[in-house]
């Protein structure tokens, strides 16, 4: 596989470029998280006919900055009866899980931090690390609410991993590749070639389009659950469990949970963008196509999905634990199997 990292093409592989490659996504995560937090505050306000933060900079755009400054200054409390090591480790693990996933995300045709061939597999594996962090945090806090939140969270993550995996698997069946960069480049040539519309192919793909659209929706719903967003925010359900598994965390450790949540939102959106929405491809064929435009399109699409998640959060009520399991195992899983079989058939026929 050709190197798809422009930094390595330009400067060769040395310590400095590796560091640059590592820090670029980190920088992106931090900037993006600040924007996403602001977007969440502002969009929720607009939906509710309010204004949101207004008094921190013009139109409150510096609000996330102020929050970070404040969180840095907060006292860092470790509860007395907690398991100190696990308690302190948990936020780092969760953040690592979210951040490590960025390694294989193709931002552009010329930039993917680590273009490994089993990218999709890697994303899934690394995503489970954050589940471990949640359990550690919840258990080590020595708080009933934290523990219940963590247990709920873990059962939710495991249940929804399967429909999401089925959705991804069907794309793998279509492309016979797990390299995310390859999957992206396969979808070039206008939005009609995106996998949400069955991928590249002639008119024979028409019958498979409902199934691919269905899979996109299934993946989107499962991704909501994996990031603990409404209507699946049961682990942090304010009305029942004070703040879920991070009830006991304060200051910067809490900020890491906060950042990880938003980073995770971006990761799942980026995967959705890459495998179904054409990745960094322009929707209009060769129009505005190119490495730099690729970054633009990719971030635009991913951010659109993030906004969709925010929009849904402020619209829907939340599920109950057993209903969540019901939706996961009895609705999404069978449906994703049906779609998977249909797509496999299509792949065999072609």
């Amino acid at each position: 596989m050709e190197s798809t990292n422009f930094l390595w093409d330009l400067f060769g592989r040395n310590v400095w470029t590796v560091l640059a490659v590592i820090s670029l996504p980190l920088l992106f995560v931090l900037v993006y998280a600040l924007i996403a937090i602001l977007a969440e505050l502002k969009i929720s306000a607009w939906i509710q006919e309010r204004l949101g933060p207004m008094r921190t900079g013009p139109w409150g755009i510096l609000q996330p900055v102020a929050e970070v400054i404040k969180l840095l200054q907060k006292e860092d409390i470790t509860p007395d009866q907690s398991s100190k090591l696990l308690y302190n480790l948990a936020p780092f693990i969760i953040f690592t899980g979210a951040y490590a996933a960025f390694a294989v995300i193709p931002f552009s045709s010329a930039f993917v931090p680590a273009g490994i061939d089993v990218g999709l597999f890697y994303v899934f594996a690394i995503g489970s690390i954050s589940a471990m962090g949640i359990v550690m945090g919840g258990w080590a806090s020595n708080n009933k609410y934290s523990l219940m939140g963590a247990m709920r969270s873990i059962s939710q993550l495991i249940s929804y991993e399967i429909p999401a995996a089925m959705a991804i698997l069907s794309v793998v069946v279509l492309t016979s590749s797990m390299n995310m960069q390859e999957i992206s480049s396969m979808q070039s040539g206008g939005f009609w070639n995106w996998f949400i519309f069955g991928g590249p192919g002639g008119w024979s793909k028409l019958w498979v389009i409902p199934f691919t659209i269905g899979l996109t929706i299934i993946y989107f719903i499962a991704s909501l659950a994996e990031t603990n967003r409404v209507p699946f925010d049961i682990p942090e359900g304010e009305s029942e469990l004070v703040a879920g598994f991070h009830t006991e965390y304060s200051g910067m450790k809490f900020a890491m949970f906060f950042f990880a949540e938003y980073a995770n939102m971006f990761v799942v959106s980026a995967i959705l963008t890459t495998i179904f929405l054409g990745g960094w491809n322009s929707p209009f064929g060769d129009f505005l196509q190119g490495p730099w435009w690729g970054v633009f399109w990719f971030i635009l699409k991913s951010f659109f999905i993030v906004l969709l998640q925010i929009w849904i959060r402020w619209t829907l009520p939340r599920f109950r634990v057993d209903q969540l399991m019901h939706v996961g195992w009895k609705v999404l899983l069978p449906l994703s199997f049906v779609c998977f079989v249909a797509i496999s058939l299509f792949a065999m026929l072609n």
Partner: protein, 182 residues
């Protein structure tokens, strides 16, 4: 209170750089105050009204937190009874420094209407936790809540971090003193 609009330097030892850093830190703390809402009684309803669209408390950068660990200030809105007092103390102790308390309404200021015969009412929440701002009213208007919030922001902005001075006694210049003690 902007970032750079105070040019006079009140920091004798630290110099202007330290002063600016301190202002930045204070700015961050004052503009992003997450609160633990302690809704106890009538004032809590006005508090909900203040959070709603018409008054929109979030304009001040305040976000409600349900866990005391993540909160920067408590808003005690309502009557504190003896049964409740111990809980308030515990929750206050659970909060991470720096922490502030706003006492809202007559009841939490001094027992309010129940100060005389209320055998089960704590006569003022300041008997158990230190209060930074008192908002009078029974219940106060939502705007009065916001005014109290601005008073707290002012107080935070004037805090000294580096030279460990005691909290500056604040001169309240915005109020007209005409009604006060002559």
């Amino acid at each position: 209170m902007g970032l750079l609009n105070r040019l006079d330097d009140p920091y004798e030892g630290g110099g202007i750089v330290l002063g600016k850093v301190e202002e930045l830190l204070n700015w961050g703390r004052s503009k992003s105050d997450w609160y633990l809402h302690f809704g106890l009684a009538c004032c809590a309803i006005e508090f909900m009204a203040m959070n709603a669209s018409h008054f929109d408390f979030m304009r001040f950068g305040t976000i409600p937190r349900t866990s005391p660990r993540q909160a920067d200030f408590i808003m005690v809105t309502g009557t504190v009874t003896f049964k409740m007092a111990e809980r308030i103390k515990i929750l206050y102790e659970q909060m991470a420094e720096p922490k502030y308390v706003i006492s809202v309404g007559s009841c939490s200021n001094s027992g309010g209407p129940y100060w005389e015969h209320g055998y089960h009412v704590l006569k003022g929440v300041d008997r158990i936790i230190p209060v930074d701002v008192y908002i009078p009213g029974c219940p106060p208007r939502p705007e009065a809540f916001e005014e109290g919030m601005m008073q707290l922001q002012k107080k935070i902005n004037q805090q000294a971090i580096f030279n460990k001075r005691k909290r500056i006694e604040l001169e309240d210049s915005t109020k007209d003193e005409s009604n006060k003690e002559s």
